[in-house]
């Protein structure tokens, strides 16, 4: 197995910078002949960037790529194809108004003086499809084919170009379970012929089903590289999302106030019209942190958006202190006293090109204390902002400094400060410490605990298992849109929550 000739691709020290972030930080990776390598990681862990580098879409800022032991530079996807690397993107790169055969042969130049014989090419494609169990009518228009078949066309495109390494970026996201099974059959078959597959995903069950070896990425770094035989879903979940358990001292509350938020049988549809949140019920009481754990992409985002009036509720109810909040718009949710710390602060929580003061009033532009007859009351805005900057220890050169000039931790403090003012009734915090350093993380945690002790109701949604476990009073685990179990935090163990995150409800005793 360790034969050097067996290694097809080596990535060594690959580093890629994007404005303000390091997408890939000295990544080392090996791909062997005849294996399926799963590249596992949460959204934003750097999986796709890394594969785009291997496929020639981006150039790495540092590091080198070796193919068959020889260092190479991959300038373009065309170049990658010449090395036998094909990539199936999450969003297909097909021309809908062209036929299958036209799509497959697009970009391949016939040899000099040779005429394009479409029937011959079609036959070749059909044979190729039959060989791999990817049957498709070569003359069908791509736009009229179902998504699963379109993916087949993408794969045929790569195979037609003699790919021996296939990179698949979350290929099952668009497939039905039956189509997924069929895809996995193909992957196994392809591998057994001595080829290799890199399978990008954040779904643990798929990894366990299809991969031979698993490389886990987190925050642009490799955090684990294990054989499937040695892996378990729990272990992978831990690698993917977890840090070591944080030490947080909080008073164990024994009694809570009245119920603030009541969610009853909530159903929310996701982007593709599938049920993202499915018959979900829970309550959050005054002076309580209710934590929702789970691997990202299990409906947490949709749940938070529905609570904040940003996504339609198709069934069920959201009740805030006795008032119906189901399908109210974002403004009335804010005016009813719901604060929201979004997962992506730069995209959803801040206007980074505006000043600190302007960001602090982003949800108070209707408040008569800041606006009189349509005029901004600058003095009030400045003094309130100054107060918040002091209270939350926001490190900023001035109130007029643009938020984008602040560090990530201080940016998040701006969001937290503002939402604490807004969220008099309830605070919804989604991944409140994502991407923050240790100091800032501790600060955010201490604010959440302080507010809880002062009687605020807090809903914490996080994929950081340790964060949920150490902060929450009760923990619910979300899996495929459902809340699997709600456990009081004193009774919760990492093992149980970890299994629940992987969708295992009871101990598996084989």
């Amino acid at each position: 197995m360790d034969d050097k000739n067996d290694i097809v691709i080596v990535l060594r020290g690959i580093t890629k910078y994007f404005p303000n972030t390091i997408a890939n930080d000295h990544i080392d990776l090996e791909l062997r002949r005849g294996e399926v390598l799963a590249l596992l990681g949460e959204n934003g862990a750097g999986k796709t960037t890394l594969m785009n580098i291997l496929y020639g879409m981006y150039q790495p800022d540092e590091g080198e790529i070796l193919i068959d032991g020889k260092p190479v530079k991959i300038h373009s996807p065309h170049n990658a194809m010449e090395y036998g690397i094909g990539m199936i993107h999450q969003h297909f790169t097909l021309i809908p108004v062209h036929s299958v055969v036209e799509n497959v042969i697009l970009g391949i130049r016939p040899r000099r003086g040779e005429r394009l014989r479409i029937e011959e090419e079609a036959k070749k494609i059909q044979q190729l499809g039959e060989r791999y169990g990817l049957e498709v009518n070569p003359y069908a228009l791509v736009g009229q084919l179902p998504v699963g078949v379109q993916q087949r066309v993408e794969i045929l495109k790569a195979l037609y170009r003699n790919a021996r390494v296939l990179i698949m970026d979350e290929p099952t996201a668009v497939l039905t379970p039956q189509e997924t099974d069929k895809l996995f059959q193909f992957i196994r078959d392809f591998r057994n012929r001595g080829n290799s597959v890199i399978f990008i995903t954040h779904k643990l069950n798929e990894v366990m089903e299809i991969a031979d070896r698993i490389t886990v990425l987190r925050d642009g770094r490799v955090v684990g590289n294990i054989l499937r035989a040695e892996a378990s879903e729990k272990k992978l979940a831990h690698l993917m999302v977890g840090r070591d358990l944080l030490v947080i001292t909080k008073k164990e509350a024994t009694e809570f106030g009245p119920t603030v938020l009541e969610v009853k049988g909530l159903e929310v549809l996701g982007k593709r019209g599938t049920k993202a949140v499915d018959d979900l019920s829970f309550t959050v009481r005054k002076g309580e942190i209710f934590g929702i754990a789970g691997v990202s992409g299990n409906g947490q985002e949709e749940l938070a958006e529905a609570l904040c009036g940003l996504r339609a509720v198709s069934k069920g109810q959201i009740i805030l202190s006795g008032k119906e909040l189901t399908n109210k718009d974002a403004l009335s949710v804010i005016q009813n006293g719901v604060g929201y710390i979004p997962a992506d602060r730069q995209k959803e929580g801040l206007i980074t090109d505006m000043s600190v003061a302007e960001n602090l009033i982003l949800k108070s532009y209707f408040d008569p204390s800041f606006v009189t007859y349509g005029w901004l009351n600058q003095r009030r805005i400045q003094s309130t902002a100054q107060q918040l900057v002091n209270d939350f220890a926001i490190k900023t050169p001035s109130l007029a400094t643009k938020v984008k000039a602040l560090s990530g931790g201080n940016q998040q403090k701006v969001v937290v400060a503002r939402e604490m003012v807004i969220g008099t009734e309830l605070l919804v915090a989604v991944q409140p410490t994502r991407g923050l350093d240790v100091g800032a993380t501790e600060y955010v945690h201490s604010v959440l605990i302080r507010e809880r002790e002062q009687g605020r109701a807090i809903l914490l949604i996080s994929t950081e298992l340790s964060e949920v476990m150490s902060l929450s009073d009760r923990i619910g685990v979300m899996y495929k849109g459902k809340l699997l179990k709600v456990i009081p935090s004193q009774e919760a163990t990492v093992e149980e929550i970890g299994l629940l995150m992987a969708g295992v409800v009871e101990e598996d005793d084989g």
């Binding site: 910078y17 404005p19 303000n20 972030t21 390091i22 930080d25 800022d61 904040c308 009036g309 940003l310 718009d329 974002a330 403004l331 009335s332 949710v333 804010i334 929201y340 979004p342 995209k347 959803e348 929580g349 801040l350 206007i351 980074t352 090109d353 505006m354 302007e358 982003l362 949800k363 532009y365 209707f366 800041f370 606006v371 349509g374 005029w375 901004l376 643009k402 000039a405």
Partner: protein, 375 residues
């Protein structure tokens, strides 16, 4: 048509991206337009060399002629007046990251409204006539613009294309009006009668073409500034322009903002119709001032979508026009050199955005690398 649509959208996306990152801290932000103007003039000088003229003498003459007498100096500002307004029309919408390419059409609608009011009002005191003409032009331009904002809000139409196309509709309306219902009594040319002299905007400096419209344009520029930076409406406009996702989370109705921005932006361009008809032409002529909409786009970019910058950029364009006209009258250089100069200045301004982007990207990368080295 689909192809064209896509092309425009790609262009638009890249400009949007650029505008989103337009606010740069750093001292040379203020100087970038100056560099661009200098480079633009140098490049145009090169063209003059090809025409066998010495650019140094040409530029020397251009400036000395422009400042030779009060008439020419005043004319610079008279020419700048409508450009300030169309520049504001573009720049104001820019602040909401909306593209109002239709200032030309809004200008024409404003011109129609003011000429209709002036011709039909009869004998009323001048200030009332002027006031009504002003209001009519603002409303006509504003409604014409608001329609674009509405199409975007209601149907998610591409405001870039809709506003651009709306200009052609406005041109068709003018063509129709000056050939039949509003055609001059003599019936000779496609233009209206001269409007009564009590609806003429008074001169700011006697015996020149400079009129009080210039002051109106300055007031409008101040107004645009005040709206954007002193009112909650302006706050919402800028917020929508800088991060539409975050404003959605903050419960700001961006569709309403689209309509309001286009209403105001169109009104600014409509008022240019008032200053041109009542201040300069004193009638409506088919196809007059056909380029001030397009020049407004350039002026807004050159002025960094800031009202003060737009006023300065418009005056610069006024200077190029007056000076350019004078040198073409006194030398062998064709008048198209004015467009060449304007074009080169614009080109270098856009290039400077590109260079600024590159520099920020490199700086950010360096910072990250240093940050990691410390770790």
């Amino acid at each position: 048509m689909d192809k064209f649509n896509e092309l425009m959208q790609n262009f638009e996306r890249s400009v949007r991206e650029r505008m989103r990152r337009r606010d740069r801290s750093g001292w040379w932000l203020a100087l970038a337009p100056v560099f661009s103007v200098v480079l633009g003039l140098l490049a145009s000088g090169l063209m003059m060399l090809f025409l066998h003229n010495n650019p140094i003498t040409v530029y020397g003459q251009m400036f000395s002629y422009s400042f030779r007498d009060i008439y020419n100096i005043a004319d610079v500002f008279a020419k700048a007046t409508p450009l300030i307004l169309t520049g504001l029309a573009m720049g104001f919408a820019f602040r909401a990251t909306l593209f109002n390419i239709g200032a030309q059409g809004q200008f024409y609608m404003g011109a129609i409204a003011t000429v209709v009011v002036a011709l039909n009002l009869g004998t009323v005191p001048a200030f009332i006539t002027l006031f009504l003409c002003f209001i009519a032009s603002a409303i006509a331009g504003g409604v014409w613009g608001a329609f674009v904002g509405f199409a975007k809000a209601r149907f998610n139409a591409n405001e870039f294309l809709v506003s651009m196309m709306s200009t052609y509709v406005a041109i068709a309306i003018i063509n129709f009006l000056v050939r039949s219902p509003l055609k001059e009594a003599k019936g000779e040319y496609p233009q209206t009668d001269v409007i009564p002299s009590n609806s003429w905007i008074p001169k700011l400096i006697p015996h020149t073409r400079l009129h009080w419209g210039f002051i109106i344009a300055l007031v409008i520029a101040v107004l645009a500034y005040v709206i954007l930076w002193r009112t909650s409406l302006g706050y919402k406009i800028r917020a929508v322009g800088l991060n539409r996702d975050a404003t959605r989370y903050a419960g700001i109705n961006s569709k309403k903002i689209f309509v309001i921005v286009f209403l105001l932006s169109g009104a600014f361009a409509g008022i240019a119709g008032f200053t041109e008809v009542n201040g300069m032409q004193h009638m409506l002529i088919q196809g007059f001032n056909p380029t001030i909409g397009a020049e407004g786009i350039g002026i807004a970019i050159l002025g960094n979508a800031h009202p003060l910058g737009i006023v300065l950029a418009a005056i610069l364009f006024g200077l190029l026009k007056v000076g350019g006209n004078l040198i073409t009258q006194t030398s062998t250089i064709p008048s198209s050199i004015i467009n060449v100069m304007e074009g080169f200045v614009m080109l270098f301004v856009i290039l400077s955005y590109f260079i600024q982007d590159k520099i920020t990207a490199i700086k950010s990368k360096r910072k990250l690398r240093r940050g990691r080295a410390v770790q």
